[in-house]
Assembly symmetry: C2
């Protein structure tokens, strides 16, 4: 691929992202120092159009980048724009005040939405290597009971169970037994050991044990799935004009936790970009997702990212996402 043609594509993407209007050959040579005439550029543009990198909304209009064009831009033409010192300080300061995990996640969403001016999505971190620290059985009222699971990362999960008419002694015996069996194990190991455990219980308490084990099993599974927090939805407001295509479907997609999880799930440690049609979800084929994994490598990790129009400023957005991911990782590692 010709060097100048690449330069032209880069120029088109840059200008279009700035103005959101089709860009023509003359404006191109004027705004960028291409040192050739508009006619030459036109030939290049025709070629780029043939190859599918740009398109014309209608004859006799300027060109607009296609998804394929953005892809090439992101892969080969864009340099991630480093953030200014002031921006980095602001990010760091904003996150530093967090008191617990909830707070970290909340702050991260707000921060990400603010620095990118887009819709931010943050997944709660999963501590892969976390082991079970404690299992509790608590009677609430009558036969209503609660199984509480605490892991070494400090995550607490609970599940309601029916205790039947068991006595308190049975309950505390079972509690002790459960703890002996699963404390120190990962959720996966614990789930495997639960089955055998019920067998060992005296026959008359077996019903209760099975019940509790089922509740605990639910918790162990739930532990690996995670919650997702969304923020900055108001930022969609900037694209009033393309409401039907750009806003409505995105709003709908944002309601689906599952969709969001899948969106973020594919992010690798470096910043990942999915452009328009590359997104599997139909509602997001007019949007782009910039995501990154965060956390301290093996211990704790999850993904975060932003959703915006395909015509977003990729270099800046990617830089911001990467920076936020790094700073959150740092905070997590410290605290």
């Amino acid at each position: 691929m010709d060097d100048r043609k690449l330069a032209v594509l880069r120029a088109i993407v840059t200008d279009y992202v700035r103005s959101r209007e089709p860009v023509g050959s003359r404006a191109l040579v004027e705004r960028h120092r291409l040192d050739v005439s508009p006619a030459t550029i036109r030939n290049d543009m025709a070629a780029l159009e043939d190859e599918g990198y740009i398109a014309q909304p209608h004859t006799s209009a300027g060109r607009v980048p296609t998804d394929k064009g953005y892809r090439l831009f992101v892969d080969r033409l864009a340099q991630i724009k480093p953030l200014s010192r002031a921006e980095r300080c602001a990010i760091s300061a904003f996150l530093a005040g967090a008191v617990d995990l909830d707070d970290i996640v909340t702050r991260t969403v707000r921060l990400l939405a603010k620095v990118t001016s887009q819709v931010a999505i943050v997944q709660y971190p999963v501590v892969v290597s976390a082991v079970i620290r404690q299992v509790d059985l608590i009677r609430l009222n009558g036969s209503r009971g609660l199984v509480v699971l605490v892991n070494s990362a400090g995550a607490v999960r609970q599940h309601h169970v029916d205790l039947g008419d068991c006595r308190d002694e049975d309950l505390s015996a079972l509690r002790q037994r459960l703890n002996q069996a699963v404390v120190g194990l990962t959720p996966g190991q614990a789930a495997a050991r639960l089955g055998g455990l019920v067998e060992q219980v005296e026959p008359d308490a077996r019903g209760l044990a099975a019940n509790l084990a089922a509740g605990l099993a639910d918790l162990l599974v739930a532990d690996s799935s995670t919650r997702v927090v969304v923020g900055g939805v108001g930022n969609l407001a900037r694209f009033t004009d393309q409401f039907e295509t750009a806003i409505k479907p995105v709003l709908e997609a944002l309601e689906e936790q599952v969709v969001l999880l899948r969106l973020l799930g594919e992010a690798t440690s470096e910043v990942t970009v999915r452009i328009g049609q590359e997104n599997e979800h139909v509602n997001l084929t007019a949007a782009s997702v910039v995501a990154s994994r965060y956390g301290d490598s093996d211990e704790t990790w999850a993904s975060l990212g932003v959703v915006g129009p395909t015509s977003m400023d990729y270099p800046s957005t990617m830089a911001s996402v990467r920076a936020v991911a790094r700073y959150v990782s740092q905070i997590l590692a410290e605290g």
Copy 2:
């Protein structure tokens, strides 16, 4: 106020809500059986306009209800439209499948958004009369520890604390002491008793005790504040045309937990309606909020509601909000 004038106002509101277009005198007499001529209606309309109940977008256009007009409509003219049997069944069935509190709230939001076709807001229920069932102190890694609080309603809250270099025996002794002191108390009572407790501890463990007590105190306070869940934001998509005035500000307001809590906070047991300007928050002066308290009277309660355009169908919306509130209350009382 003249009977017929009220009828005219009711007719205007009804028609405008249906069509979202200014309604004129002729259409009015045709669609509603007013049994007078358009000219007569025009006189009434002029009077209603003088009194501030309706307005003209421009000369020679039909009339549109003002906030004041909607208020009168809601207070004196509207009858809450009872839901059909099928609708009631659907609501009941949808909620019945819930497994725990989280699930109830999630389902309620979805349900409310769906039946009203508007943005739904549900506050997590606060169990006023809940007492503390158990306090746990758990060591995570090194000096990182966790205080876990479980109340009789099955709510679980946790808080990270620094354990310093205390021994496991000290920890379990303290745990026992704390439990003896606060189990069975309401958060308020417990908070009051915590102060004295630290005094009684042997001097060398007092630092740790104070630390833990502080963590627990945080939890006790947090217990009374609550979370809010929002859903059905995609329903805003119907009002594409009035984006700037009707959607953007609402999206922004929905991001603020505090605003939402205050919005719902004022709801009484019956359905409450706040129309346009009546909302304190600037961003919501073009929207209406229909809210209701739910829960089983004294035990457990919170608020839920919807946010929509001032030109919403009040009778239906109020009916739906009321119905959902009642069914959720029922589910909460049962489980």
